[in-house]
């Protein structure tokens, strides 16, 4: 691998196309040549850096693992079929199910990696072409808790309400449940200032590579992050560090929060979390003493049955110190998936319409229906959330068919044994996929689609900046874009010509109109402006508008302009450990793999680096289970069991095991996880469940 494309290739393939990485929400700038050579490009989020995933991302373009023909299940086997046959089959079966069982018998599942255009058209396809309320997406498993908490506190959710590069001037950054050193490696450049100032704090039950870089690492027991935030907030008050004038001028609701927090003094919180009272006070002093300070949360705070409350508790802390809405300081959520931000704005979420509008809001329905050219009363209402949707598949009142775009739910959803069982009980499972993922392997029809470098489209990165990803290489013969697939299906379902365009820019133009006036207003964004390299953070209400890099500087988005403290209390994990399941399992990612691993496991360099599932465990805990480093362990929860290689790590808490969730089959970490859902965000509790660990043959 070299840094630039070889100069021996023919001139038309030597063109370097400026684009962005296919993986995480950092959306690193890169160039891709006509022969699919990747090179990093200077762009504010990555400043010329790429991780191993980015460098190797082009390997999947021409991979033998690519699907290049539609597959249809015949006599139990997936067999090649023509596009016309496959699409005709899908459309006719969808139409029949709908006629026999009603519109909600057909469901759609999307993904946070899909472009804005795809997310938008998928939502429209579900509501208009299928008329179903049953659509949701895997972002529900990602940052939905932070989205809900952000909306409650600020009246608006944009992951980072400031440009990422603002972090460079911070002398204190607290990362809560975030491991960017592995999940978005080039992000680390933005933390250097805080680390040099002695102010980088990482909250994580594990001593992750990110925690290794911290000046102070706090390792709370899994499921106790909320209590930790209460303890630090208590210390802020007790040590006289409250920003009272900010509280008076820019917020409401602190008194009710304090009545709760008063009962969580640091020594009490120490007993719940295992984080020393002195360290809680130190974080309070560090944040309060900083010139510029940030509190940033990620999946570790969010993926809990109390995820919204947990994020709210950290936002409360940021508010008490007067950070949000102040230039150079703030609160933010590190969105995970490539288009985790845009994906949550344009209508593939069960309760949303484009522009981050609520599907229950009559004004929003009227506006969007007008753009779509349909009567507002034909739009369905809110449907089931992601896990509830998967859980209902094939049940008496649940959907009988499911279309999956950009997601591998057989691996990434919680309680995956249950999910696989539900998928198998469907009358019809259709996937649009790059490779034969574990979900596609269960499907009745698999439609081969293009990927990032083979198509145009926009993404919205973790800082709410809209980016143009451009077509850089020709797609393999036989594959189509997701937009093409939706367009083809819509036509076969009797939708008028032009209502479901297959051209990305045309779809985007319609998206702009649909989002106009909504919280995430894209109406002033055009492909031309993006091609010119303009840095457009939403909202961008018109073409002359320069975008909004920093939100909330003058007022928050609630009607009264104030941020709202949320009174939240510690509850703890939905499934505490007991005698039968004495350990807590937590899940997460490794640097070399992305999400369910469907893409990265097909790339030899990455698969060779981290080839199989493993379980990180303290050597004493392993020894007590009769296991040593390198052995295969069986990890069992109330829902299932998985097999994983033992990695002994001396910095682990003795009561915790960690499993990455990228691996298929018997190695799925999500065979263990608990689908207890947050009451607001419907986020499952991926980050903590009770397990026991034994040798592979089951002996303790």
């Amino acid at each position: 691998m070299t840094l630039t494309a070889e100069s021996t290739t023919p001139s038309d393939t030597r063109t370097q196309t400026d684009t962005h990485c296919p993986y995480c929400a950092l959306q690193c700038g890169m160039t891709v040549s006509g022969t699919a050579e990747v090179a990093p490009r200077a762009f504010p989020t990555n400043a010329g850096g790429l991780c191993q995933k980015g460098w190797t991302s082009a390997a999947l373009l021409g991979s033998p693992a690519r699907l290049t023909t539609p597959l249809v299940r015949v006599d139990g086997e997936l067999r090649p079929a023509s596009w016309d046959n496959a699409l005709d089959l899908v459309a006719s079966r969808l139409a029949r199910l709908r006629a026999e069982h009603g519109a909600d018998s057909v469901a759609v599942f999307g993904g946070g990696g899909l472009t804005n255009e795809k997310s938008y058209l998928l939502g429209k396809f579900a509501r208009v072409a299928l008329g179903t309320s049953q659509i949701d997406y895997n972002g529900r498993f990602c940052m939905s808790s932070a989205a809900a908490a952000g909306t409650k506190a600020f009246g608006l959710d944009r992951g980072l309400p400031f440009p990422l590069t603002d972090l460079a001037d911070a002398d204190a950054v607290v990362l809560v449940g975030a491991n960017p050193a592995e999940t978005m490696p080039p992000f680390g450049q933005h933390l250097r200032g805080a680390a040099a100032a002695g102010g980088l704090v990482v909250v994580d039950p594990r001593r992750t590579p990110t925690a290794e870089q911290a000046n102070l690492h706090l390792a709370p027991a899994p499921g106790t992050d909320l209590a930790l935030a209460l303890g630090i907030l208590h210390a802020v008050v007790a040590d006289g560090l409250l920003d009272q004038s900010y509280l008076d001028q820019r917020t409401s609701g602190f008194d009710a929060v304090w009545r709760i927090v008063a009962g969580y003094w640091p020594e009490h919180v120490e007993r719940i979390t295992g984080v020393a009272a002195a360290d809680q006070r130190r974080v309070a002093a560090l944040l309060a003493g900083a010139r510029n300070a940030y509190v940033l949360t990620a999946r570790g705070a969010e993926q809990h049955a109390t995820g919204v409350a947990t994020v709210s508790a950290w936002i409360n802390l940021a508010l008490a110190l007067g950070l949000p809405g102040r230039a150079g300081s703030g609160y933010g959520c590190l969105t995970g998936q490539g288009n985790g931000q845009g994906g949550r704005e344009h209508g593939q979420k069960a309760d949303q319409l484009p522009g981050y509008r609520a599907i229950t809001d009559p004004v929003a329905r009227e506006h969007v229906a007008r753009v779509w050219g349909v009567p507002a009363d034909t739009l369905p209402g809110p449907g089931r959330s992601a896990y509830e949707l998967l859980d209902a598949l094939g049940t008496d009142d649940g959907p009988k068919a499911l279309l999956v775009f950009g997601s591998n739910v057989a691996v990434s959803a919680p309680d995956s044994r249950r999910v696989a069982e539900r998928l198998s009980s469907l009358d019809l499972l259709v996937t649009a996929d790059l490779v034969l993922s574990e979900t596609s392997a269960l499907a009745d029809v698999v439609l081969p689609v293009t990927q990032w470098a083979e198509e145009d489209g926009t993404m919205t990165n973790l800082e709410g900046r809209i980016l143009l990803r451009r077509k850089a290489v020709r797609a393999p013969e036989g594959v189509r874009t997701d937009l093409d697939v939706l367009s083809g299906l819509a036509a076969r379902l009797g939708q008028p010509d032009g209502r479901f365009p297959a051209d990305a820019e045309t779809v985007f133009t319609e998206l702009r109109a649909a989002s106009a006036g909504g919280p995430a207003d894209y109406s002033g964004v055009s492909y031309a402006r993006l091609r010119d390299g303009e840095a457009l953070h939403w909202p961008v209400p018109d073409e002359a508008h320069p975008g909004t890099p920093r939100l909330f500087l003058d007022r928050f988005a609630h009607a009264d302009g104030r941020a709202r403290f949320q009174p939240v209390e510690h509850k703890g994990p939905a499934e505490p450990p007991d005698a039968d399941y004495p350990l807590l399992a937590t899940t997460g990612r490794v640097l070399q793999h992305y999400q369910s691993g469907a893409q990265t496991r097909a790339i030899a360099e990455l698969a060779d680096s981290v080839p199989e599932a493993y379980v990180e465990v303290h050597p004493d805990t392993a020894a007590r289970s009769g296991l040593a480093d390198g052995d295969l362990a069986r990890v069992t929860s109330r829902r299932g069991a998985t097999t994983a290689r033992v990695h002994c790590v001396a910095s682990m808490r003795t009561d915790v095991v960690f499993l990455p969730f990228h691996f298929p089959g018997d190695q799925r970490a999500n065979l263990l996880t608990n689908p207890a859902l947050d009451p607001t965000s419907r986020m499952p509790e991926f980050k903590v469940c009770a397990v026991r660990m034994t040798t592979e043959d089951g002996a303790a």
């Binding site: 691998m1 070299t2 840094l3 990093p40 400043a47 010329g48 850096g49 790429l50 991780c51 191993q52 460098w55 050193a181 592995e182 490696p185 080039p186 992000f187 680390g188 450049q189 250097r192 590579p209 870089q213 027991a221 008050v237 007790a238 040590d239 006289g240 008194d255 304090w258 009545r259 008063a262 009962g263 003094w265 020594e267 009490h268 120490e270 007993r271 979390t273 295992g274 984080v275 020393a276 009272a277 002195a278 360290d279 450990p577 004495p582 640097l591 070399q592 680096s609 303290h618 050597p619 004493d620 007590r624 001396a650 003795t654 009561d655």
Partner: protein, 481 residues
């Protein structure tokens, strides 16, 4: 079905918590009608934070647990500034000092405790009231009196070297008072600490200017002057803070014929000898706990709320494992379980580190690989880990010293002094999974500078954090060429 009448006597930390817990389970007052009687004139406050008020870091109004609207919002009949006079168990009524009476289906004593006044000549007046210049340390009112009287620079004596006494002493010393603690035992906190820890603690507190008179009792109080001790010596004091222990408030229960020992005796369902009468918090005596701390009171409130609301009729209180934490700025002390076991004890594994010069003391008692007792002073993160192991009954890690010392122990892997010392398998660039071995191979294959190593291996092209290491390796390779 009409709700049951529950009357709570006492609106301190236990009574207020019980009311909160009941309303959490029965927010609409469908199962329980709640009356709370509090003899102080103001809303409940968090007694745990009083030492912060004395230390001056928290304002008195910040320690309130409830606001003015709390009772109305939750449908609670709250009677402030009213005392109970007597209980008619046959009629199930409580007579109040405002002339009214209130009926109950279930009655809860949450009357707390009152300070014990040691027999010191001149300390109390004819009716048992404290003499001028002497104050107990128990209520918000006491705090205000202490703050009024303890002018900056004035000498203050604290009678009693228990938890509250030491917290008051530390707070007053922090405000600029000259504090002397008079304590009858040979070391402070003798119930919670062994002699070694007591010595280190006194020395650490001494660093803040606090004097100790240990093994001494006060013989006579001379208002405006100070204390005369039992050895004839004198302690100057403009103010005497009495913190010599508390006694469970049991008079009403006792008068009503309910079984009382040191406190009101309760079983695991927190029932007294009268099954319709319960007790929680400091006034209750349950075999599984000691009184005077908030944790047992809160756990009891949770169990009793389960029972009174019918949310969980099987709920039982089995005792609380208490962790003693001293809340004194600059001092980090945790003590739990059996702390007086000696290192020579043949039946237990006991480790002890005694480092008085640095204010550190750590003792760990283990049985069957489980932590059964610990004292951790001056090692804050170790205290946090040990407490969790103890609370969960989890086996302790084999690295006992690591556990005992926490971050005070030097980290196991010192940084390699030179690139030459790094093992070949060491990952240099995590972002791109590049090892030192791969860099060396790339050098041997022709890369001749840090930049060329980066081009060849991608090391340093992610977050860039390893750029210095890559440069160091290139320099080393160049020097060995």
């Amino acid at each position: 079905m009409s709700p049951r009448e529950v009357v709570v006597l006492g609106y301190g930390m236990a009574g207020a918590r019980l009311a909160d817990e009941i309303r959490r389970r029965d927010p609409g007052a469908e199962r329980v009608r709640l009356t709370v009687i509090g003899d102080e004139p103001h809303h409940a406050y968090n007694r745990v934070l009083l030492s912060a008020v004395v230390a001056g870091s928290m304002r008195p109004d910040s320690v309130r647990l409830h606001d003015e609207q709390w009772a109305r919002r939750h449908g609670i009949d709250l009677r402030l500034g009213v005392a109970a006079l007597g209980i008619d168990r046959a009629a199930r009524t409580v007579a109040l000092d405002d002339g009214t009476s209130v009926g109950y289906d279930a009655l809860v004593f949450a009357t707390g405790s009152t300070p014990w006044l040691p027999p010191v000549e001149g300390l109390t007046g004819e009716h048992g009231e404290l003499a001028e210049g002497a104050v107990t340390f128990r209520s918000l009112g006491d705090c205000e009196r202490i703050l009024d009287a303890a002018r900056v620079g004035a000498p203050v004596a604290v009678l009693g070297g228990g938890l509250l006494g030491l917290e008051a002493a530390r707070g007053l010393a922090g405000r600029g008072n000259l504090v002397t603690v008079v304590h009858p035992a040979e070391h402070v906190l003798e119930r919670q600490l062994d002699a070694g820890a007591g010595r280190v603690l006194a020395r650490a507190l001494g660093e803040f200017g606090i004097d100790f008179r240990l093994g001494r009792t006060a013989a006579k109080y001379l208002p405006g002057d100070g204390l005369k001790l039992d050895d004839g010596s004198h302690v100057d004091a403009d103010l005497v803070v009495v913190s010599a222990g508390v006694r469970a408030e049991t008079a009403l229960a006792s008068a009503a014929g309910i079984a009382v020992d040191r406190g009101i005796v309760v079983d695991d369902a927190l029932r007294t000898s009268d099954g319709r009468v319960h007790a929680i918090g400091d006034c209750a005596q349950h075999p599984g706990t000691v009184s005077g701390l908030v944790q047992p009171a809160w756990e009891q409130a949770g169990v009793l709320a389960d029972l009174l609301t019918g949310s969980d009729p099987s709920a039982r209180y089995r005792g609380t494992s208490v962790v003693t934490r001293l809340k004194a700025r600059g001092i980090d002390l945790a003590a739990l379980g059996e702390t007086h076991v000696e290192t020579g004890d043949p039946d237990a594994e006991v480790l002890c580190v005694d480092d008085p010069a640095r204010g550190r003391y750590a003792k760990l008692v283990l049985r069957d690989d489980r932590v059964t007792g610990a004292i951790v002073l001056g090692l804050p993160d170790a205290a946090a880990t040990i407490t969790q192991l103890h609370d969960r009954g989890s086996p302790a890690p084999g690295d006992r010293l690591g556990l005992l010392l926490g971050r005070a122990l030097p980290s196991a892997a010192p940084a390699a002094a030179s690139p030459a010392d790094l093992p070949a398998a060491t990952t240099v660039c995590r972002c791109n999974s590049v090892t030192k071995g791969q860099l060396v191979d790339a050098w041997r294959a022709g890369a001749a500078s840090a930049e060329q190593l980066t081009t060849a291996t991608r090391a340093g092209t992610g977050c860039g954090g390893c750029a210095d290491t890559v440069r160091g390796i290139a320099d080393w390779l160049a020097s060995t060429a």
